[in-house]
């Protein structure tokens, strides 16, 4: 398939050309696009600049890949998720902020931090200069606990509050993510208090280990998540098993090595991939997945090589030079989605249309076989410069973007079709076990949960015991809505529809998300 009609290019800008870059006949289209950005009343300066930069990158040809790989991008089996033609910086970075605080930075002209004021100011400075979107703000408790006694208790709370507010306002993006736990700390508890009060969009994960995290701390986190839909409850022991102690959670719920990051994220659509086989289960598992995964890895590697070899990104910036990031702690993501639709359609083809993922053992088992098979194939092919994951591309369940229509996020049961809670967790747990680069399940409780946080903790512990890696927990009338992996405010949704400027770029994605997935707003509250 080589036909370049507009339908095929719906996810690309009209002036893009995969092989040639911008050609003179498309120049007018490019200018129009630039002008549209300049005239948009819904974007603030920073968002306009991001759009312009991305537009400029898309005038380049894409890094060269085989014809077959290009076809799979063009028919949207693979999706480059608005990274543009080629990456000029890693998609995600997780710097070693600890080192920054203890050694200072020559480039930023910062001396080692000596008290809580300096430590928080250093971090805010570092976020400003991050060489990617600010998706990781650090393990805040481990970073700041050593400084908490440099000021009195009341001052500590005040400084932390200002820091947390500023981190949110300067990085207006719900993909910004901080981590706490598993240890109980003064900073961890203070931060939960402050987060509950400020209701910021910044994401937060509790690395939860029932053997290390005291119940009282975990219960405070449960109370928070029922109010503000965070922190996430991350199955710390299972993550340590996959990554060792030095891993972080960034962006939505993405796992990566501390001191490293993710070069690029390419998405793989389980549903669209079906078009490359005869529609039968065996053919899908034994032919379609192996063949497309090989090409998928080719695409990912072409982008990593462009970044590492062409832009020489790692040769030319202070993060690497000062030992805050290491190239050998980087990897890339294979972000899968649309599992539910693939499972259901394969079963329809097999004459079993009654079986649907989430509500039928045969369907759940097929879901697991597909997810496991993809992982096995991914393991067979080396990822270029992927020292952060033993030379492999990392398996990730991708939560989706607003343009995904009729495709469920990640490996989730479609919104609105979830079975009762225990069955929901049991159906998704095997998929969590198979995916170690970020995967989550969203659950919601009614008002009675607020009166009985221990009950929620019972369920978290059971879910983690079954292999669930990350749980996002909300309450049915929370001010926040968890859109796949990130948070938006209900009020922001309304404003986005009126085209008023929002500081939060992620809210735009959310607004679109609801237009295409209206059932998401009507997620059935679990009655307990």
């Amino acid at each position: 398939m080589t036909k370049h009609d507009t339908t095929i290019y719906s996810k690309f800008n009209p002036y893009e050309d995969f092989q040639q870059g911008l050609t003179s006949d498309k120049l007018e289209s490019y200018r129009t696009s630039v002008l549209e950005t300049l005239k948009s009343s819904g974007l603030i300066l920073r968002q306009k600049r991001d759009n312009l930069a991305l537009g400029a990158i898309c005038t380049l040809p894409y890094p060269q890949v085989s014809d077959r790989a290009r076809e799979l991008i063009e028919d949207e089996t693979f999706c480059l998720i608005s990274e543009g033609a080629a990456p000029y910086h890693p998609r995600y970075v997780a710097p070693d902020y600890q080192k920054l605080l203890s050694q200072g930075s020559e480039f930023l002209e910062l001396a080692p931090a000596t008290d809580l004021y300096e430590a928080t100011a250093h971090l805010l400075t570092a976020y400003y200069y991050l060489p990617s979107e600010p998706v990781f703000l650090g393990r805040i408790d481990a970073l700041l606990e050593p400084f908490i006694d440099t000021v009195d208790e009341k001052t500590a709370a005040h400084v932390l509050r200002s820091f947390w507010l500023m981190a949110d306002r300067l990085n207006p993006n719900a993909f910004s993510h901080a981590n706490i736990g598993p240890e109980d700390t003064k900073i961890g508890r203070l931060l939960l208090d402050i987060d509950r009060e400020l209701k910021t969009l910044t994401n937060l994960t509790l690395r939860y280990d029932p053997d290390i995290t005291p119940d009282s701390f975990a219960l405070q986190a449960v109370a928070n998540t029922l109010e503000v839909t965070k922190p996430y409850f991350l199955n710390h022991p299972s993550m340590v098993e996959a990554w060792g102690e030095d891993y972080v959670t960034a962006s939505c719920y993405n796992t990566m090595p501390l001191g490293g990051g993710i070069y690029t994220l390419v998405r793989y659509n389980f549903k669209v991939a079906m078009a490359h086989g005869d529609g039968s289960i065996d053919n899908y598992l034994d032919r379609v997945i192996p063949e497309t995964v090989e090409r998928f890895v080719e695409v990912v590697n072409s982008r990593i090589r462009f970044l590492v070899e062409e832009t020489e990104w790692f040769e030319s910036n202070f993060w690497v030079q000062e030992g805050l990031l290491y190239r050998d702690r980087f990897t890339a993501y294979a972000g899968v989605y649309g599992l539910a639709e693939a499972v259901n359609e394969l079963l329809v083809n097999a004459g079993n249309s009654a079986a649907r993922f989430g509500n039928n053992p045969t369907a759940n088992e097929l879901a697991e076989r597909i997810v496991v098979r993809f992982g096995e194939e991914l393991e067979k092919h080396p990822g270029a410069y992927c020292g952060g994951k033993d030379g492999k591309i990392t398996y990730h369940a991708q939560v989706g973007i607003s343009s995904d229509i009729d495709v469920s996020p990640a490996t989730r049961i479609p919104s609105g079709e979830e079975p009762e809670l225990y069955a929901h967790l049991a159906a998704e747990a095997p998929l969590h076990r198979a995916i170690d680069g970020g995967v989550s399940t969203v659950i919601e409780f009614d008002q009675t949960a607020k009166e009985n946080p221990q009950a929620v903790l019972d369920i978290i512990q059971a879910a983690h015991g079954m292999g669930i890696r990350a749980l996002s927990i909300g309450s049915s009338n929370s001010e926040f809505i968890r859109v796949s992996g990130w948070l938006i405010r209900r009020s922001d949704l309304e404003r986005a529809k009126d085209e008023k400027a929002l500081r939060h770029s992620s809210s735009y994605l959310g607004a679109g998300f609801f237009d295409t997935k209206p059932t998401h707003l009507h997620r059935i509250a679990r009655k307990v």
């Binding site: 009762e420 809670l421 225990y422 409780f445 008002q447 009675t448 949960a449 009166e451 009985n452 221990q454 009950a455 929620v456 903790l457 019972d458 369920i459 059971a462 015991g465 079954m466 307990v528």
Partner: protein, 296 residues
């Protein structure tokens, strides 16, 4: 196990094993004790409260057969004078419960302690414990005791009984060794109001509360607030003073009556306002009782 006939509770099977009459097992509840709990509703109650919210659990089936023809799924049959329920055919439309003239239900399973544990065992990992409710759980005391022994043998789950408190002390003593806590519903502190609401005096209920508190087995005392019966501040104060004298650490929870699900005249009663609920909490707290709260 054949269905139980006539209005008499059968508590042992042919081979001498205690069996229970189980109306329903709820796999997840946040409001029936500490943590997440499975709740077992046993059929049969010795009270007949005016506002009863599950009157179909009051009596045992008398096999009149009225429901059989009404079942849209043909899940009910009358065999040798006994109504038999086919749970596989049932879609839980509850038509049989609606039309039952005897405040009962044909959807009752006769289960051994082992059967009941096998129902709960697969979900035990999600739970803090098991609560026995009803109906009146303590109408089937030997079964409850045997079942709780099974729970304790097979798991780390804790055990709680929700009761109206109208018990003999010997019955409670039999349950104490296998029961972590009791939750007692004191329908009204005023004896006349209690009589009006339930058809029984509260003398034994108050004795039960005192006895359980002394044995450190009282999880909480609950009261459903029904305007016109027990919503006065003076009654709340008297009750709280009574509890204070037993133990200032007793937890007292006021629940709000809701007309939804009630029967007869009670359907027309109004739910008490937030203001009334708050005033009762305040009145009870003034006595010095430490833990007083109310439902949402």
């Amino acid at each position: 196990m054949e269905a139980v006939g006539q209005n008499k509770m059968r508590t042992t099977s042919d081979d001498g094993i205690e069996v229970g009459l189980v109306n329903k097992v709820l796999s997840q509840s946040f409001v029936d004790g500490p943590g997440n709990r499975a709740v077992v509703f046993l059929q049969g109650c010795n009270f007949n409260c005016l506002y009863c919210h599950n009157p179909y659990m009051i009596n045992l089936c008398n096999h009149c057969g009225e429901c059989v023809a009404q079942c849209p799924q043909n899940a009910l049959t009358l065999k040798s004078g006994c109504v038999t329920w086919n749970s596989d055919a049932c879609v839980e439309c509850d038509r049989c419960i609606e039309i039952c003239p005897h405040n009962s239900s044909p959807q009752v399973r006769t289960m051994s302690p082992k059967d009941l544990w096998e129902d709960i065992e697969p979900i035990a990992t999600f739970l803090s414990g098991v609560t026995m409710s009803g109906g009146e759980a303590c109408q089937q005391t030997p079964f409850v005791r045997e079942f709780f022994s099974e729970v304790r043998d097979k798991s780390n789950l804790n055990t709680l009984i929700q009761t109206n408190g109208d018990l003999l002390l010997e019955e409670i003593e039999m349950l104490l060794p296998v029961t972590d806590w009791f939750m007692v519903d004191l329908k009204a502190f005023n004896s006349t109001a209690h009589q009006q609401l339930t058809g029984r005096t509260n003398h034994r209920v108050l004795e039960t509360i005192r006895f359980l508190a002394r044995h450190k087995k009282l999880f909480q005392v609950r009261q459903v607030i029904v305007p016109g019966f027990n919503n006065s501040e003076s009654q709340a104060t008297e009750m709280a003073e009574h509890l204070m004298a037993i133990d200032p650490n007793i937890t007292l929870t006021f629940l709000r009556f809701r007309p939804h699900g009630a029967r007869g005249e009670a359907k027309t009663w109004k739910a008490p306002s937030d203001e009334i609920m708050d005033r009762l909490v305040e009145a009870a707290k003034k006595t010095g009782l430490q833990h007083v709260n109310r439902s949402i």
